[in-house]
């Protein structure tokens, strides 16, 4: 009787030990993955900043205005050609 209990406990012990090893391995693997994703997030944030910077540079008012007037021959309508439509009174 006692021997059986001991055997059972031994089996449980081995089972636990193996589970511990597996979960530790799992934890490390997940941690590495987390690490990689965090690195990626940081990288993407940097890229986002750089893209914003690039967008601002392309959209610089001076540049837009220059293209609008010189290449597209756009201009602000003179006052004489503006018709004001009176808005509905709230």
């Amino acid at each position: 009787m006692m021997a059986r209990v001991n055997l059972l406990l031994l089996a449980t012990l081995i089972g636990c030990a193996l589970a511990l090893v597996t979960s530790q391995h799992q934890a490390r693997r997940l941690f590495v993955e987390l690490q990689r994703e965090q690195e990626r997030a940081k990288q993407l944030e940097v890229e986002w900043g750089q893209l914003q910077l690039e967008q601002r540079t392309w959209a610089m008012h001076g540049r837009v205005e220059k293209i609008a007037t010189e290449q597209l021959h756009m201009r602000v309508a003179p006052a004489s050609r503006v018709e004001v439509v009176p808005g509905a009174k709230p």
Partner: protein, 577 residues
């Protein structure tokens, strides 16, 4: 013969030998136990530490500097990582060919690289800071032992010279050096953190042990500025400064209802993206840190003080003939004498004698109270570092001549920002708005300076000043009612006034029916012939106001017809200097 007895040699060893051996063995165990105790108990910390240092590392977590954005969240300053090439002279292994190649990649000479690597006791030296990533990558590809990259952040300013004076710049270590970058350095910089990790033999992090200090990224700073208005103000200012060959200029656009600074431009300017030597004449934000004598732009405040005190009414008559007035030993002049003028006409035609008479009819304290009430002589507290408070002397020390000249803006000095802010009392029915460069989240707490009736009366006078018959018909905007006042002042040089150096100014607001914008323009030392505020600064106001009101979608409050300029045959009203 008896059997031979087994040769039992009775080995009689002395008993002490056994005891000695036992003792020795016990001593061994005691020594071992002692040693174990020493290692486990007394020397434990040191050993733990040594052991940990084999696998556990503390890594630094850098904090990124916060962005600066405008009121519409357009980025104005962004930090982005760059690589710096560093070396450890103590353990560098480099061949002469590699040195030459490295120097070539870093755009320096081989001698320079050798000089930096000469001191072999040092463990860290920068070879070149802040390289573009591709260039840094090719340095790594050389594979020189002891040369490595160090990640750093560099700040970029997409708006460049348009915003430079307000935002300022950071130094190579990403610390704020000027303007708002300096004033808000603490909140922008954030706090670097660190954490303890376990690394394996190959240097991979395999476990997070503890966070020693969480890194705090810098906060984003939202400004009150509107990039569109800023660009347009700076463009018009640039045109005017070039056209009138002026030495400098400034413009401030305020939101009349919230006191937010929508635009604040200066010339000459500089590009904050090009690091190197910055000339303080270019980096100074003149609108907040430079003082000038405001000249006639101060007359509306004199009129407001007189109206508020009940000394006059807008239609009260004042004799300005013969165009001069002697006070004590000195005489003040109107270069273009008029006759009898109403108070409204004194402002419209900008008569010095008229303004002086208004001022002298009041006790000095009344005038001083109004001037200090609108913020002259005190810093405007916009959040800009180094803003000046201007000079407004205590009324007890005023002599009559000073009181007279102060009424038309001489003997008192203000910054353009203060002047723009002071005009909010006419734009808001008598309340002074607190100004700010930072976007407001709560409505401001304005302070009442004059009654609504007084403010409206002066507003009507200021509207007259921009119509034909006033000093600034060129300030008109098609489709909108505008109001404002010109100022032309001689510059102070040494002890007196310079003969032909002027500051031309115009401060106004629009639309008059429900003022949205207060715009103050100042052109310093125009040298192309024209120097009257009505000819130099007023057109800038007109163009900025027209486009800004259109951009902000403000409904026109006047019929859209061409503005009426006085015919060339009729001489324009010249204001008094």
């Amino acid at each position: 013969m008896s059997a031979t007895a087994p040769a039992r040699v009775a080995l009689r060893l002395p008993a002490w030998r056994a005891r000695l051996l036992l003792l020795v063995l016990l001593a061994w165990f005691a020594a071992l136990a002692g040693r174990a105790f020493y290692l486990q108990r007394l020397h434990d910390d040191f050993l733990q530490q040594k052991g940990e240092s084999r696998y556990s590392r503390v890594i630094e977590l850098s904090a990124t500097r916060g962005m600066i954005v405008d009121r519409n969240k357009e980025p104005l300053a962004i930090s982005t990582p760059v690589e710096s090439v560093a070396a450890s002279p103590a353990d560098i292994q480099i061949t002469p060919e590699q040195t030459a190649r490295l120097a070539q990649l870093l755009a320096t000479s081989a001698g320079e690289v050798q000089r930096k690597l000469a001191d072999t006791r040092r463990e860290f030296v920068y070879l070149k800071r802040q390289l573009p990533p591709e260039q840094a990558a090719s340095v790594v590809q050389l594979g020189i032992k002891g040369v490595f990259l160090q990640r750093e952040y560099r700040r970029y300013y997409p708006a460049g010279d348009v915003m430079a004076h307000v935002i300022g710049f950071t130094d190579i270590n990403d610390r704020g050096q000027e303007a708002l970058e300096l004033a808000f350095d603490d909140t922008l910089a954030g706090r670097p953190g660190s954490r303890r990790v376990i690394k394996d033999r190959l240097g991979h992090i395999i476990e997070d042990v503890e966070s020693i200090q969480r890194p705090e990224n810098g906060a984003t700073l939202a400004l009150a500025l509107d990039t569109r208005l800023q660009y347009l103000s700076s463009r018009e200012l640039r045109k005017a400064v070039a056209e009138h060959r002026a030495s400098a200029g400034g413009i401030v656009v305020l939101d009349a209802t919230s006191g937010e600074i929508l635009a604040m431009a200066n010339l000459p300017s500089y590009n904050p993206n090009n690091r190197g030597h910055f000339d303080p004449r270019r980096t100074r934000n003149r609108t907040a840190t430079d003082l000038f004598e405001p000249g006639s732009t101060l007359k509306p405040f004199t009129a407001a003080a007189a109206l508020e005190a009940g000394a006059v009414r807008p239609e009260s008559m004042i004799q300005t003939a013969p165009g001069q007035m002697t006070i004590g030993k000195r005489t003040i002049h109107d270069a273009h004498p008029q006759g009898m003028l109403t108070v409204a006409e004194v402002i419209q035609k900008s008569s010095n004698v008229g303004a002086a008479k208004l001022a002298l009819a009041l006790p000095a304290e009344t005038l001083w109270k109004l001037f200090s009430g609108v913020g002259f002589g005190a810093p405007p507290e916009s959040g800009f570092p180094g803003e000046v408070s201007g000079r407004l002397r205590a009324h007890k020390s005023w002599r009559p001549i000073e009181q007279a000249t102060m009424s038309y803006g001489h003997g008192i000095s203000v910054s353009l920002l203060q002047l723009a802010r002071a005009y909010t009392i006419f734009a808001t029915d008598g309340t002074l708005q607190p100004v700010t460069l930072i976007k407001r989240t709560a409505p401001p707490q304005p302070t009442r300076v004059v009654s609504a009736e007084t403010a409206r009366a002066v507003r009507a006078m200021l509207e007259l000043a921009v119509q034909p018959g006033g000093t600034a018909p060129r300030a008109q905007v098609a489709g909108y009612r505008v109001a404002g006042k010109t100022g032309t002042a001689r510059k102070i040089e040494g002890k007196g006034y310079a003969a032909n150096k002027y500051v031309s100014a115009f401060v106004g607001f629009a639309p008059v029916s429900a003022p949205r914008l207060v715009i103050a323009v100042m052109i310093d030392e125009p040298t192309a012939g024209q120097y009257y505020g009505g000819a130099v600064a007023a057109p800038v106001f007109s163009r900025v106001a027209a486009e800004a009101l259109r951009l902000l979608g403000v409904a026109p409050d006047a019929p859209i017809t061409q503005v009426q300029l006085p015919s060339p045959a009729v001489p324009e009203i010249r204001e008094e200097v």
